[in-house]
Amino acid sequence: MNNQQQHQKTMERVQQGLDRRYRKERHFRWLGLGAIILGLLFVSFLFITIISNGYTAFQQTYVKLEVFYDPEMIAPIGETDTEVLSRANYGGLIKASMRQMFPEVTNRREKKVLYGLISTGAAYELRNAVMSNPSLIGSKAEVWVVADDDVDMLIKGHIDLRLPESDRRIKDNQLGWIHLLQEQDRIEKRFNTTFFTAGDSREPELSGIKGAIAGSFFTLLICLTIAFPVGVAAAVYLEEFAPKNRWTDLIEVNINNLAAVPSIVFGLLGLAVFINFFGLPRSVPLVGGLVLALMTLPTIIIASRAALKSVPPSIREAALGIGASPMQTITHHVLPLALPGMLTGTIIGMAQALGETAPLLMIGMVAFIVDVPGSVMDPSAVLPVQIYLWADSPERAFVERTSAAIMVLLAFLISMNLLAVWLRKKFERRW
């Protein structure tokens, strides 16, 4: 009786607390789910911001002009050799065409503003057209030329017209001309090829990422040619040959620590060793690749060791058993089986290197470079540094270009990671 009462009392106490405990349980669970949803929200918010800011950069505003290829201005003496053609005043042709279209503009200052609607790059387009086809001289043609970045921003709706005129980059008279052009169907948005075929420029409408992509390519090439063989060799040594002693321990501790050293410190190493000590030039992909190779080495070594570890010992024993030397065992049997894992690790390391910025700032890869680099010894920028440089530029048009460059960078990174996942899925073996 007494025992049963005791039991009932206990059950009552448990029952009393149960609601509270279940409520706590639910709250805890919601907290966890909330944390994950918050994380997912951050991801989607980040992507939405970048994409909504950047997708317009893949289009560029063009203006249709009626250009008269005036022989007087291009080749006044009638000579048409390349020297004369390349030096002619093509900007003048555009100005003439603009004057013709807006004859009411006579004021000197207004004229200057009017010419400002067209990008300075338009003259080069005309030059290229004439250089490749000198028979154009003397003819009249309708030409689509690149508009200035302010016009571009207006057409894309990035300029707030409610602001007072003095706060706007586009003034009221310019607005009038642009409306007039629009009514005549002389303004059009087209796919922005310049963005993929040009190097950097101070003019947003003429700037592109080709130089940065080429720089990134050369940098990664150097990084890969150094980091992959050395990383795999180091992993093979540590996993298969290294005796268990203090020296090996020291190497392992070092690799683990290097993996966590801030990337900017690697930049200082590059500055002090490669540039100041060995006298290599600044801002070239060679030095950038070397620094990034040192930085990605721990990643590759750790991934390669994991891949080697996953090859079962029976493979090694079988090879040794039929008389292969230890080196033959490794090179003929273990390495081929571990290679997919090593490649996966290497691709992830390369993706990391592609996105890295800070160490490259230290070795001078922040210079303003217009030319597309042609070799590992040409000064160049890389994609993330280009993003950093553009993010610092005040023009509104560079904001969308920065976002577009980020989209390109992320596309590269995502495809590299997908490749790594695919490799792992395809060649993963369960023993």
């Binding site: 349980e25 994380g39 180091a234 190497i251 683990n256 966590a260 410190v265 700032l361 990174l413």
Partner: protein
């Protein structure tokens, strides 16, 4: 371009050497492989190594000393008054000579002697290139031929080749040590030069940071004060904000993933969260500067607070977002390492899941979680791009997250980007900051790894 042609030629020669070495070994024994000590391909490899490696070593030595030797010869041929210039001036002159010979822009006017020196320089360089070409190729051919001649049936080719490969493997693995030594030395040397100008105590305990030094003695401007406390305070503030964001979110999502989420949810949500880890930091920096900082400022003005447009809050929150996957994947590992038996024991006693997690799993996984958080702190301290783009530049000793503060990494970048004299206190200060940064992150890593390792031994 010229060097790469030479390297390609050498690689071609190496494959030829492989072919001939292999053929030679076969012809010695008349095609009966079992009479050879090693397989024929090892004789081929041995010949190829003899052909390629000495030539490649020669090539790299030549390239590293070419410039110095040629410059030395050019200096000797310069007129006496140029030779007796102080070393810095002489360097400038030599730089001009080099640029002149490449056809680049020259800083000073070109006179007769300069032009002569430049011609001399480029002709010497041409001679050196030609000589390298001839010498390297003949070394390769001679060594290859010699190796081919010495092939005998008893030669232990496999052992030699394997020894060479083993040497390569060993030296690759020591590169990590050399990198560490390189980092320590390069940072330490410049820091020592810095501490000769500025006392260590002033650097470590000074409360004011203003690295602008006057270039000319008569220039108006601050004389440069290098007290690093505001920088470290700023770093700590931003790191603290990042941790306040990252640790709860990262830990809770790891717990949910490990203990509650179904398999389908996990396979879907986990990769998406891991995307955050793969995004380059420059993208986070852009995001912080363009979106998050203005957002906080707007919000501040709406509730009557003045928020700086480069507030520590914006940089810290974005850095926290960056670190979430780092915290969550590390905690995921340790939570999964807690043995199932401990969970089952708690469930058997009637505990709910959350009670099990809070009273059993977290305490058991705590050392691992603490280790992971320490690693995350060390990452946040060393993070550069987010703070360069979103945090302030001027040192400000403040604990208010709405104000602009600067960090150690921001200062390293601003001190070293751009053209400066390399031995001014301003640039050397960057190396001193990097030294402290390196020591702090190293110490944090050591502690974290120690904690994690100690914990792991308990259950294995």
């Amino acid at each position: 371009m010229h060097t790469s042609t030479l390297i390609i030629l050498l690689l071609g020669l190496m494959s030829l050497a492989y072919y001939f070495g292999r053929k030679r070994s076969l012809s010695i024994v008349g095609g009966k492989i079992r009479d050879l000590h090693s397989l024929p391909s090892y004789y081929g490899m041995q010949t190829a190594m003899w052909c390629g490696i000495p030539a490649l070593i020669l090539l790299s030595l030549w390239i590293s000393f070419e410039e110095t030797v040629v410059t030395g010869i050019v200096v000797e041929s310069l007129p006496q008054e140029l030779q007796s210039l102080p070393p810095e001036r002489l360097d400038l002159v030599l730089n001009d000579v080099r640029n002149l010979s490449k056809g680049d822009i020259v800083s000073s006017t070109v006179d007769q002697t300069m032009q002569q020196a430049a011609d001399h320089y480029s002709s010497l360089m041409d001679i050196s290139h030609m000589a390298l070409f001839v010498v390297a190729l003949s070394v390769a051919i001679l060594a290859g031929l010699w190796a081919r001649r010495t092939i005998t049936r008893e030669q232990r080719a496999r052992n030699r080749v394997e020894k060479a490969i083993n040497f390569f493997l060993l030296s690759s693995s020591t590169l990590a040590i050399f990198t560490t030594i390189g980092i320590v030395l390069s940072v330490l040397f410049e820091s020592m030069r810095f501490f000769q100008q500025i006392p260590v105590t002033e650097f470590l305990f000074g409360l004011e940071w203003s690295p602008q030094t006057a270039i000319r003695p008569d220039q108006v401007g601050s004389s440069g004060v290098f007290g690093s406390v505001p920088l470290f305070a700023g770093t700590m503030l931003i790191t603290l904000i990042a941790m306040i964001v990252a640790v709860p979110i990262g830990l809770m999502s790891a717990i949910y993933m490990a203990e509650y989420a179904g398999k389908r949810f996990r396979t879907l949500a986990k990769p998406v969260l891991e995307v955050l880890a793969g995004i380059p930091t420059v993208v986070y920096g852009f995001f912080a500067a363009l979106t998050v900082a203005p957002f906080f400022r707007e919000m501040g003005t709406n509730i009557g607070l003045t928020v700086s447009s480069e507030s520590a809050l914006a940089a810290g929150v974005v850095m926290g977002i960056m670190i979430i996957p780092f915290v969550s994947s590390l905690s995921d590992d340790v939570i999964n390492a807690v043995p199932q038996a401990m969970r089952d024991g708690a469930y058997g006693l009637g505990a709910t899941r959350s009670e099990t997690i809070r009273n059993v799993i977290i305490p058991a996984a705590l050392p691992g979680i603490v280790g992971g958080v320490l690693l995350a702190v060390s990452r946040a301290i060393g993070e550069t791009m987010i703070v360069v783009m979103a945090a302030g530049l001027s040192a400000n000793l403040s604990a208010n997250p709405l104000e602009a503060v600067t960090t150690v990494t921001v200062q390293i970048v601003t001190l070293l980007v751009g053209d400066q004299e390399f031995d001014s206190a301003k640039t050397l200060a960057a190396f001193a900051l990097a030294l402290v940064l390196f020591v702090i992150t190293l110490a944090l890593n050591m502690i974290a790894l120690h904690i994690v390792r100690k914990y792991r031994e308990q259950y294995e």
